[in-house]
């Protein structure tokens, strides 16, 4: 079966006054039909930029290159801007992090919802209105007919995010990018939004790319996870394996530095240091200055993607012949 989305060697660089900033540094991944994929990483690791690059929403001074970027077999790069606009919102939709700033304050919720429906699906004004109200009801907005005529400022954060979700799903996209959709919200509201998203995903059968820095949210929402660090993918596996048997030292560090709500721990184990400045990337593996299992080779060469097990890729020298960790695990091929 062919993949819904295929990305191979995606690079996004920003040409700034201080020099070239490689925000995304050669990432490759596939997304299957109906799959939900999580992207985890700290701020600045390139997770949002990667998704915006796929949507071709990176403007000047950014530059996107890739060996391959296929949506259902169509190369996204070769499309004209006009065709791309047809795909955006229709085949691929985006939910932004901040519901406060991503809605236009001078238009009503209804107008903004209708816009996409009429543009992409050719609905008449009346039927678009019906469809918008129906979408608002679907995401659990009470008094949907009234909210339709209201402006964004009169809605709370949770309600705005629901309106965003309604907008993104109104054309039943093949892929939904959700960029930290709940980070700006309180936990009880976050629980409401996550429930709506899980419920809608089952109804519409959309593939989701879910970006978050919170492994708790990720482990509830997705089947497979990509862990990103400094613009590269360091680990790629299913969620169960990632939480129970993380392999990359960064993933292990991320999991250990987070306290659990159901277990009491004596001491947290933070990752020492901080994320390097993208203008002065360390040589070799970008994680080596913070890694506790660092070896000589890590300082010299960037590790390649290794298949630790089928369906579990790690980019770390520890699991290569030099690191010797591969031999201990019998299931390694």
């Amino acid at each position: 079966m062919s993949h819904l989305l295929q990305v191979k060697n995606l690079f996004t660089t920003f040409n700034t006054e201080d020099g070239l900033v490689p925000a995304v540094n050669g990432i490759s991944f596939n997304l299957n039909h109906g799959e939900s994929l999580g992207i985890v990483g700290e701020s600045g690791c390139g997770k949002s930029v990667a998704c915006l690059s796929i949507m071709r929403l990176i403007g000047h001074p950014g530059k996107v290159t890739a060996d391959e970027m296929l949506l259902d077999g169509t190369t996204l790069f070769s499309l004209s801007e006009k065709k791309m606009r047809h795909i955006r919102g229709n085949d691929m939709a985006f939910i932004f992090q901040e519901p406060m700033t991503s809605l236009n304050p001078v238009f009503t919720i209804g107008f903004q919802l209708q816009e996409a429906i009429r543009l992409h699906q050719g609905f008449s004004k009346d039927s678009a209105e019906d469809k918008s109200v129906e979408m608002l009801k679907m995401v659990g907005i009470p008094r949907a007919e009234k909210v339709f005529a209201e402006f964004p400022h009169s809605l709370s954060g949770g309600m705005r995010q629901r309106a965003m979700i309604a907008m993104a799903l109104s054309c039943e996209p093949k892929i939904l990018f959700a960029d930290e959709p709940t980070t700006a919200l309180d936990v009880t509201i976050q629980a409401q939004i996550l429930e709506i998203m899980t419920d809608l995903r089952q109804r519409i059968n959309t593939s989701i790319i879910f970006i978050s820095h919170d492994l708790g949210v990720i482990s509830e929402m997705v089947d497979r996870v990509i862990v990103m660090y400094c613009g590269t993918i360091v680990e790629d596996t299913d969620i169960r394996t990632l939480i129970n048997e993380p392999k990359h030292p960064y993933t292990i560090g991320l999991i250990n530095s987070k306290p659990r709500i159901n277990i009491e721990m004596d001491k947290l184990e933070p990752i020492p240091g901080s994320v390097p400045n993208p203008l002065h990337m360390p040589s070799g593996c970008p994680y080596h200055p913070r890694c506790k299992d660092v070896m000589d080779i890590c300082r010299q060469e960037i590790p390649k993607k290794l298949e630790y097990r089928s369906g579990h890729d790690v980019s770390c020298w520890l699991y290569s012949e030099q690191g010797g960790k591969m031999s201990r695990d019998k299931t390694y091929r």
């Binding site: 700290e42 701020s43 709370s156 949770g158 309600m159 309180d186 936990v187 009880t188 509201i189 976050q190 629980a191 409401q192 996550l194 429930e195 820095h213 919170d214 492994l215 708790g216 949210v217 482990s219 509830e220 969620i239 169960r240 939480i243 560090g253 991320l254 999991i255 530095s257 987070k258 306290p259 659990r260 709500i261 159901n262 009491e264 721990m265 001491k267 947290l268 184990e269 933070p270 990752i271 020492p272 901080s274 994320v275």
Partner: protein, 324 residues
């Protein structure tokens, strides 16, 4: 038993709503309404709640950074709210605060040495070489290098800035520190560093913390006791294990169940709360929580529940929780 270092009695902070022709006071936003609790020396009280529930206002009111509307706060027996202003400055030495946003809480025009040393001069404790020594010591204690005192805030990362914020709060050797969401603007891997630093410093200097946060997992990790706030009131307060293992207030139960667990196999028994937090300008009749509560009865809509002791050291404000 250890003596409480901070005791609060019926602390209130109302913000007036003005309107009409002569900007008369037409109502009050009860940001903090009748809050009483105490913190023992060397302990950490975690204060949790959703945004807008009044946690930060409470933290600032305790330190009199905001003038209170009522109530009393005793610090080592002194009534903070009734101390004269010039007298109060002496007390300020022992009461410090760490702010949420390390990007906006450090003056960008001062270098780190000036930021940390400023309070030593204001309180006329030391100046010149002596001050310099103290600044360098504090930087070292907080995990920065002594030579960093010449740098400016923009030269540091978020985690390092928060370390500067902590060093500034601790230069005067305070006894009580309010930490107002000290980690919420930091990355996950940095949060643990800061929390570990705060724990080490607590042990070293015998500090007492009021740790304000909405991160329930982190509060469980750092606190001894936890208070849950909703719409300006404390709804539940008790020891942390008791609170997390046996929450009694329906709001606490819902709040705890809403936290995503890092375990894909966990069976979620989530209590989804309906609706949003009501506006504090127009709180509901009776129990504040009744419009969102799944157990609400007639009594909850009419009478306001009191915070009462259900078990030893476990206080809950709910009509429906039975004693024992």
């Amino acid at each position: 038993m250890t003596k409480p270092i901070v005791e609060m009695e019926n602390v209130k902070k109302y913000f007036p709503i003005r309107g009409g022709v002569f900007s008369r006071v037409v109502g009050n936003i009860k940001a903090v309404d009748d809050v009483s609790f105490s913190i023992n020396k060397g302990e950490t009280l975690g204060l949790v709640g959703e945004s807008g529930c009044g946690k930060s206002t409470l933290g600032r009111t305790i330190l009199r950074l905001l003038e209170p509307s009522g109530g009393q706060v005793f610090f080592k027996g002194n009534n903070i709210f009734e101390t004269e202003k010039h007298e109060f400055q002496k007390l300020r030495r022992e009461l410090q605060i760490i702010f949420q946003d390390p990007y906006s809480s450090l003056n960008p025009r001062l270098n780190v040495g000036e930021i940390i040393g400023e309070s030593l001069e204001i309180h006329k404790i030391s100046s010149g070489k002596e001050k310099q020594k103290r600044v360098e010591y504090m930087l070292e204690v907080c995990g920065l290098a002594p030579h960093h005192h010449r740098r400016y805030p923009h030269e540091f990362s978020g985690g390092q800035r928060q370390r500067v914020g902590i060093a500034r709060a601790l230069t005067l050797n305070p006894d009580f520190v309010v930490a107002d969401e000290p980690i919420s603007s930091l990355d996950v891997s940095i949060q643990a560093q800061i929390v570990n630093l705060m724990e080490d410093l607590q042990e070293k200097f015998g500090l007492t913390y009021l740790f304000i946060s909405h991160d329930l997992s982190m509060v469980r990790h750092i606190s001894d006791n936890v208070a849950v706030m909703y719409l300006g009131k404390i709804v539940e307060i008790c020891g942390k294990s008791e609170l997390y293992d046996n929450p009694l207030h329906p709001y606490t139960q819902a709040l705890l169940s809403a936290v995503p667990v890092m375990d894909p196999d966990a069976k979620s028994q989530r209590i989804i709360l309906k609706g949003d937090v009501p506006s504090p300008a127009n709180p509901p009749e009776g129990c504040n929580f009744n419009p969102r509560c799944r157990y609400a009865e007639k009594r909850c809509r009419l009478e306001e529940p009191e915070l009462r002791e259900i078990d030893s050291g476990h206080l809950v404000s709910c009509h429906l929780v039975e004693k024992g």
